[in-house]
């Protein structure tokens, strides 16, 4: 007796083929080629709200049209997921911090370029102790934070500054979504987090900020990262994105009607009001001026910062098991400066496009 009739066999074959093609097509990454459609991912954070505004106000579209390309700006609700999607090849560009750029796409072998250095945290990330008022009191406590994030990095740098180490305390991985609720529970006595959670926690009784990112200025950097191969094959993408960004910067930095309207939109999109958003901007050093961003990217301090970040990442196993030392992943900076293994350069800081913006050549 036949197991299946020819007709069902045909359907079965068709179905396996179909499912296989579907799965395979979602798993294979596309090679970087010259193209005219691009996808940019962003997530909610004070320094990245301009992307949402730029999309909504049509500024990104305007600059895309100028260079004859189509740029789709997509908001992703989960920050890490957006970086993972970028690393997997679903997006051509994505917003992320300098540390995550090194440990996720670069460590994952995706050659990435920091196209726009948008801002650095200047008090937006902080360490809060309940009932205690000095950093040294953190020793022996359980500290709630998003493990392996910039909060963790901030904690490591803070401990460096008082000659302590992570061995002196217990790190408890806590989801950022639950950080505020966690702080409200009696057994949580120390947290490291970022705004707007930080200001919400500081508003609670007995909360003392004992360290914040203004003590390590310029080390937690928010940037727009683009796939290096895509950028190389499509300089238009770099020009359009940089042009759009600094147009938004120029608009939002002014206190005229247009600037206030822009910041109000961004405030609304991030779930706060204009006063709340301005408070977050106050602890964020935005590079409204392209020339400032260029100077920051070209400075020797950035190399020093990335050396700290690479060491932290290596110590925590974030560079992968194949990494022999902190220099496993090479980084390139403007002016031919490099860090780490030049043969494995995966993260590039490039001021070319921001320089074009500063010179008004976009």
């Amino acid at each position: 007796m036949p197991v299946t009739t020819p007709r069902t066999a045909h359907w079965a074959r068709f179905f396996t083929l179909f499912a296989g093609v579907l799965l395979a097509s979602s798993l294979f990454s596309g090679a970087a080629l010259a193209k005219d459609k691009f996808r940019v991912a962003w997530s909610i954070y004070v320094g990245w709200m301009p992307w949402g505004y730029g999309e909504q106000a049509g500024i990104v579209k305007k600059w895309g049209d100028k260079y004859g390309i189509d740029i789709e700006v997509v908001q992703i609700n989960d920050y890490i997921e957006s970086i993972n999607q970028y690393t997997a090849g679903a997006f051509d560009a994505c917003v992320m911090t300098n540390m995550d750029a090194l440990t996720i796409p670069a460590a994952g072998g995706v050659d990435s370029t920091a196209l726009i250095v948008g801002d650095f945290s200047n008090g937006n990330d902080g360490i809060v102790l309940k009932d205690k008022s000095t950093l040294a009191d953190i020793k022996g406590q359980s500290v709630n934070l998003v493990e392996l994030s910039v909060s963790h990095y901030l904690l490591a740098r803070a401990l460096d500054s008082i000659g302590a180490s992570e061995q002196d305390l217990t790190v408890v991985n806590t989801s950022d979504a639950d950080m505020v609720a966690a702080y409200a529970s009696p057994d949580v006595t120390a947290v490291v987090t970022w705004n707007p959670l930080l200001s919400e926690i500081l508003a609670m009784p007995n909360a003392n900020k004992v360290f914040d990112s203004s003590r390590i200025p310029g080390e937690i950097i928010d940037m727009l990262v683009v796939n290096s191969d895509t950028l190389k094959a499509n300089p238009k993408l770099g020009k359009a994105l940089t042009g759009a960004w600094f147009e938004i910067m120029a608009t939002m930095s002014k206190d005229d009607a247009a600037g206030i309207a822009a910041r109000t939109e961004m405030a609304k999109a991030s779930g706060t009001d204009m006063a709340g958003y301005d408070a977050q901007l106050a602890t964020t050093k935005m590079f409204y001026n392209a020339a400032d961003a260029v100077a920051f990217t070209q400075s020797a301090d950035l190399v020093q910062t990335m050396a700290h970040v690479a060491k932290f990442s290596f110590d925590h196993g974030l560079l992968g098991e194949g990494a022999a030392d902190a220099g496993f992943i090479g980084m390139a900076f403007p002016g031919g400066k490099t860090l780490g293994d030049g043969a494995n350069t995966k993260l590039r800081f490039d001021a070319t496009y921001m320089q074009l913006a500063a010179d008004g050549k976009l």
Partner: protein
């Protein structure tokens, strides 16, 4: 009659057919992995089997550089302890309340609406409240599992107790048994195998709540590890952990099934499952 619904595969064909989807999945994975690795040898999304093997060796056999523990086992122990406590407490609560509500109409009238309402609350929505009330430690994780699982078991056992043939209870009463004796000698023995059934059915939900709780705040556990290494896209660790959790879930279910068959042979014969 030759109809598709009447055609039965032989035993060996059946096994082969069952394996086929797994083989297809493996082949698709391998093809995808190779294509991505050819493109970018450092790709982390679909690691090759060799790097999966390395990760398993690292997690399951070698002590961690930072803590000196063997991570897979400490994670497994922590998770199984939470799961065991949560499900065990739920089973106990389920048995006590299920029997009480199923046999005593006054208790049923008083408590049944409350239990029904509680069972309708999505437990994950309660998480922020649980954290504030019970803290971020072990207690809130166990309580989350109990909250998610116990009302289901209570309702199921109550239903089963009400389904017991009235003749059984009448017979016990004509033999002079008191309520207490009937509960201890008739209802509880009848319900124990059904309790095991309910526990087996609720294990899936228990795992869900366990992983969710560990993802939010923890220092160890299987869910903790998956959500931690996700931060740097270490799929070489995530994929083996998912397979390991699946295997653990399968083994717990198998053990419960065997235990039930050993301990309550009469029940399985009654249900026509044979020996």
């Amino acid at each position: 009659m030759k109809r598709l619904i009447n055609l039965r595969p032989s035993r060996s064909t059946g096994i082969l057919l069952g394996l086929l989807p797994f083989v297809v999945l493996l082949v698709v994975y391998l093809a995808g992995s190779q294509a991505r690795l050819a493109d970018n040898p450092n790709d982390k999304l679909l690691p090759a089997f060799s790097s999966l093997g390395d990760a398993v060796e690292r997690m399951a056999l070698e002590p961690s550089k930072r803590s000196g523990d063997i991570l897979l086992w400490t994670d497994t122990a922590a998770s199984l302890q939470r799961l065991g406590l949560g499900v065990g407490i739920s089973a106990l609560i389920g048995l006590v309340f299920g029997v009480a509500l199923g046999t005593v109409p006054y208790l049923r009238a008083g408590l049944s609406p409350l239990v029904s309402s509680l069972s309708l609350i999505p437990p994950l929505a309660l998480l922020p409240i649980l954290f504030i009330v019970f803290g971020l430690g072990e207690l809130s994780k166990v309580v989350l599992i109990v909250f998610g699982v116990a009302p289901f078991i209570i309702r199921d056992l109550q239903q089963r107790a009400q389904e017991l043939p009235a003749e059984l209870l009448v017979k016990a009463q004509t033999l002079g048994a008191s309520t207490w004796q009937i509960i201890l000698r008739v209802v509880v023995p009848q319900l124990l195998p059904r309790l095991l059934d309910a526990v087996r059915l609720s294990l899936g939900a228990a795992w869900l709540f366990l992983i969710a709780a560990e993802a939010i705040a923890a220092t160890d556990g299987l869910g903790y590890r998956i959500f931690l290494v996700r931060r740097y896209l270490a799929m070489d660790v995530v994929l083996p952990y998912v397979v390991w959790i699946t295997l653990l879930a399968y083994l717990t279910d198998l053990l419960l099934r065997i235990a039930s068959r050993r301990a309550f042979r009469w029940y399985h014969q009654l249900n026509g499952e044979g020996n």
